[in-house]
């Protein structure tokens, strides 16, 4: 294996020629080996090289990051057939490049768009219809079986997606989730737009993960251009990522409470979430942290005045959040609904490659802040937040613990003066034929960007992976053998991103 992979660091510039280029068979054999041995797929994608040939690249993680590549073939025997974590990645490659993974157990489109190569469509679509049409859902047969179809337009103020339940009575036998409605062509834009638009696009891949995606881009560009970031900027970025985690986790706890009809915490958390969004606004003028992170550092400082205001707000907010959390988790009717609902076993979670709180709730300890620390995280002690039970309760409890931890982290980081040189213009002069991959622990889990440049230093491939790309199948799994009326509760307990998945 030593020659089959190059060991790299998170956010390290690599010359592309250093990356092993294997024969297709060796590539497959080696990545399969690692993943079957417990490694995980961080990135696995196709790209069009300088000479217009299509290549594959994989970034895997064990306790290290490993990268390798090969030439693509016209079709290939599917890895997902025996090794589930490749499932979605192979579908994505098929959709983007028209390359078929033979024997793939569930070859369906991912986002419903024509492939980039003008090849015959792997899924038999002609894309004349605007709506993702030609989708062959999983079917269950039998006398008492019925299907429930929901979406793309949902009943609430939420993103679009289609959910197809196969049920017997109230019991869900299988749920299939079909997405793609939010597809905006983000990756292709990233390949083509002027550099000044790049950070803007990163911020808007998934607005609730603005900081997570912005950090991935900023770190990749900084690595490639050898730009140094000062300590103050790293601290501010860390604070921003934790504020993002806080706002979302607090919002989720409120939503979970609402879904079990316990309204006081639903309302209190709804308001408190807004208060945490306002702390991002305090720093950078935008409630979602847009405009804050740029390659090279941050655009806004945290002077003593800002720190003092934030401290004052936290004096009020921290006890309130803590008390409402205690109320939520000590209420027996809430516990009764959370516990044992939508269980995903550790075995299944591992096979599906779940990440973030969803993974930790099923006993997978991985947290990129601990294992591949960026920014200020190497100086912060992040506990291992894994839980054994894999149910709604565990997914809620991971959030509970992380809320308490993140409030402490933010509090301690703003206690001492933070000095930084604000950046107004970033260096986007990317070096030729280079590569960098970045990984950050967003509030939903592992966010990762991979950037390859061509022989002129232009972006050849910009690959974005939101944690939701791994986790949607976790939600489908949680619903198995669960009452359909528990879908909203389970859905909230994952709270995945449609736009982050659809790109």
């Amino acid at each position: 294996m030593t020659n089959a992979f190059l060991e790299i660091s998170n956010g390290e510039k690599i010359e592309r020629k250093q990356i092993p280029h294997l024969s297709f068979n060796d590539f497959h054999k080696n990545i399969l080996n690692i993943v079957e041995g417990g490694g995980k797929v961080v990135q696995y994608f196709g790209y069009k090289d300088d000479d217009s040939s299509i290549k594959f690249m994989a970034v895997l993680r064990t306790d290290k990051l490993l990268v390798t590549g090969c030439d693509a073939s016209e079709s290939y025997p599917s890895l997902a057939k025996t090794c589930e974590p490749f499932h979605m990645f192979e579908r994505e490659i098929a959709e983007q490049f028209g390359i078929k993974p033979e024997g793939h157990p569930w070859l369906r489109m991912v986002r419903y768009h024509p492939n980039y190569q003008n090849k015959p469509d792997v899924f038999g679509n002609d894309y004349k219809e605007d709506i993702p049409g030609n989708y062959d859902y999983y079917k269950v047969d039998g006398d008492e079986i019925h299907e429930v179809a929901v979406g793309p337009v949902h009943a609430g103020v939420i993103e679009p997606g289609h959910f197809r339940f196969n049920c017997i009575g109230e019991r869900v036998l299988h749920l299939e989730i079909q997405l793609g409605y939010q597809h905006r062509g983000v990756e292709n834009l990233l390949h083509n737009v002027e550099a000044k638009r790049l950070p803007i696009l990163a911020e808007n891949i998934a607005g609730d993960t603005t900081i997570g995606h912005s950090l991935c881009m900023a770190q990749a560009v900084e690595a490639l251009t050898s730009t140094k970031v000062d300590k103050g900027a790293k601290i501010i970025r860390t604070i921003a990522l934790e504020l993002e985690r806080l706002a979302n986790h607090i919002g989720d706890c409120g939503a979970l409470s609402g879904d079990v009809a316990f309204l006081p915490p639903a309302n209190y958390f709804g308001r408190l979430r807004g208060d945490f969004l306002n702390l991002s606004l305090l720093v950078c003028g935008n409630r979602f942290g847009k405009g804050l992170v740029r390659p090279g550092g941050v655009r806004f400082n945290m002077d003593d005045g800002i720190r003092a205001t934030m401290n004052e707000r936290l004096d009020e907010l921290i006890p309130q959040v803590t008390h409402v959390l205690e109320l939520l988790f000590s209420t027996p009717t809430v516990r009764a609904r959370f516990e044992d609902c939508g269980r995903v076993s550790n075995f299944d979670a591992d096979k599906l490659g779940l990440v973030g709180p969803a993974g930790r709730a099923s006993g997978i300890g991985y947290d990129a802040r601990r294992e591949f620390p960026t920014e200020h995280y190497d100086k912060i002690d992040i506990p291992e937040n894994k839980k054994p039970s894999g149910d709604v309760y565990a997914r809620a409890k991971v959030r509970y613990d992380e809320i308490i931890q993140s409030m402490k982290i933010v509090r301690s980081l703003i206690n001492t003066p933070i000095e930084t040189e604000c950046v107004n213009t970033s260096n986007f002069d990317l070096p030729a034929s280079s590569f960098a991959v970045t990984v950050n622990e967003g509030w939903r889990g592992e966010v990762s960007h991979a950037v390859l440049t061509d022989k002129n230093g232009k972006i050849l491939k910009y690959k974005v992976k939101d944690p939701s790309f791994h986790n949607w199948n976790g939600l489908a799994m949680a619903l198995r053998d669960t009452g359909i009326s528990d879908f909203p509760l389970n859905n909230k307990s994952f709270n995945l991103s449609y736009c982050g998945f659809d790109l």
Partner: protein, 247 residues
């Protein structure tokens, strides 16, 4: 039970008093732009070139708030010599063209359709359609239902079915994959109905300008009555727009 009551007491009443009083927004918030018409051509050009959205019209010396993301780049590169962003969150318009502004906006309340006020002034039911975008616009609409904003006190609610709604509120740049679903929702909404475009994405394509997968401007496919700019619009911007236009 005791714990529930204790929390209730600690939380108190948090609902703001808008529109009677304007709630304070933190200082770095970027609301309505103000333009210095006397800025030198050189500075204006510098701002226009730095703008990631090409939202600055150099000749008219105006900003197109329909394209602008309120990222503040223009203000920063010029040290506020050409553009400064004020804390004024009341920035919505009833005409697309009015979004191209030097900071002087027509009063929305006077430009709304009077029959809408009569029809929907006391009860306004909204159906939201999320059509691509980044989900922040949806988040800051959702937040209107929380106790701080408490939209329902004005008789305004988000409802589950277009059949029960008086207006559709669209967010996102209407991806190809969402277009049919959006148009069907519009069709399913009974007349008379209003169409509200929320966020830069919906108004112009926003950050995704230039992608073949999206629609550059909701008004190219549906008649839009109310434009609420921002990326995303502040919840108070949404609230102001709904109250001035319909009340």
């Amino acid at each position: 039970m005791l714990n529930t009551l204790k929390n209730r007491f600690e939380q108190g009443c948090k609902t703001n008093n808008y529109p009677k009083e304007k709630p304070a927004v933190f200082e770095r918030y970027r609301g309505k732009p103000e333009i210095n018409k006397d800025a030198s051509l050189e500075i204006i050009e510098m701002c226009a070139n730095a703008c990631p959205q090409d939202a600055i019209d150099k000749d008219l010396k105006k900003i197109d708030m329909g394209r602008c993301l309120f990222c503040g780049t223009c203000e920063r590169v010029s040290n506020g010599k050409f553009v400064t962003f004020t804390g004024d969150f009341e920035i919505s318009t009833s005409q697309r063209a009015d979004l191209l502004t030097d900071g002087d906006l027509p009063a929305l309340a006077e430009h709304s359709k009077q029959h809408f006020k009569k029809l929907f002034g006391r009860s306004l039911q909204l159906r939201q359609v999320s059509a691509a975008g980044c989900n922040s616009c949806e988040a800051d609409l959702n937040v209107l239902a929380t106790p701080f904003f408490d939209l329902a006190r004005f008789g305004i609610n988000f409802v589950a079915s277009p059949r029960h709604s008086d207006a559709i509120v669209v967010t996102g740049p209407v991806s190809r994959n969402m277009k049919t679903a959006l148009l069907q929702t519009y069709e399913a909404t009974p007349d008379p109905k209003a169409v509200i475009a929320v966020g830069s994405c919906t108004i112009s394509g926003g950050p995704f300008l230039g992608s073949p997968e999206i629609t550059e401007g909701l008004d190219t496919i549906l008649p839009v009555d109310l434009f609420i700019p921002g990326c995303p619009p502040h919840p108070l911007t949404n609230l102001h727009a709904l109250l001035s236009f319909f009340k």
